[in-house]
Subunit: 190 residues, 2 copies
């Protein structure tokens, strides 16, 4: 998505530790009108795939997932992160290792909201090593729902999570795919 | 907002501890189309107030705040919850006591996103005792920004946080104001 690449070049900052800071428009300040445009592009990519629900993970995935769901006219569902499983009712859960902090946490979705007939599009702000995405895919599989594909607003191609999933046969899309970052430059893959 | 009251009566469940569960459409499954309608109503309430930014708090406020910001065509900004202040850069912060868990946590907004000229509308999913809202108002005041008002999707009137703020002269609106809840009934104030 050309407009997103331009916005990353204009407003993004590369920080130590392979961090691409886009806090001025994607997280934690959010350019609401632009996010709705990103949602429109996601809806276009999956317009023929019979998606019934958009799934994401709190907190930074919620905004982009809502934008996509609103444009696709389907519900959005987010997994909660927790270090203690004490939710009432029946849940699907997966363990996710945080690349940034090294910690393992549980992600949780109530069974009542994820149904065997659902065709799921996972939407998130970033895709790097793909640990969170794999946790969400496992939850879809446990629910007997169909994981149709995933869209990341920004994929960090140099961390290879997306490519590994593609090699395994999963559909993974990115609105902007960063192949290389230095202090001064961001290079996109097309 | 009549449609919201009807949805609460149809899909909401009252749980022990004064909890109104609306997980099927407001949190954590989100009816995206309906949320955009709620955003439209919020935009209508504040259409003449020169709002420059919508402020909320992660995670459950993000969706409704984005819906409002998209309809108002202004950016959305969310405060992060943290128990350890280790963010880089300059921040505004406030302490918030969780009514549910009793814990005190810090909420954090980077200074670069909240400016003295900003006219802020705070949007959140629930308003009960109002602790989170008071923390957000303090952050606005620390920034020299103007706190114009607050909209809660659902206000629990029987916990009096909204009424206390109104008595202090703040503008507080709710899309649905619950005056009483029992196991079987939810009564609204109009």
């Amino acid at each position: 998505m050309k407009a997103l690449e331009e916005k990353i070049l204009k407003e993004g900052t590369v920080l130590p530790g392979n961090i691409l800071k886009v806090g001025s428009f994607l997280n934690q300040q959010i350019d609401a009108a632009f996010l709705m445009e990103m949602g429109k592009e996601i809806a276009r990519l999956y317009e023929n795939d019979g998606i019934t629900k958009v799934l994401t993970i709190e907190a930074s995935g919620i905004a982009i997932a809502l934008a996509a769901a609103a444009q696709m006219n389907v519900p959005m569902l987010f997994a909660k992160k927790t270090q203690s499983l004490n939710q009432s009712g029946e849940i699907y859960t997966a363990k996710v290792k945080s690349y940034t902090h090294g910690k393992v946490y549980d992600i949780v979705v109530p069974k009542e909201y994820l149904l065997p007939g659902d065709r799921i599009l996972i939407v998130d702000d970033f895709l790097a090593v793909g640990n969170a995405l794999r946790g969400l895919i496992k939850i879809c599989e446990d629910a007997g729902a169909t994981f149709v594909g995933c869209v990341a607003a920004i994929e960090k191609g140099f961390q290879h999570g997306g490519d590994k999933l593609r090699e395994e046969g999963y559909r993974v899309d990115a609105l902007a795919l960063v192949d290389e970052m230095t202090d001064d430059t961001v290079t996109f893959r097309h």
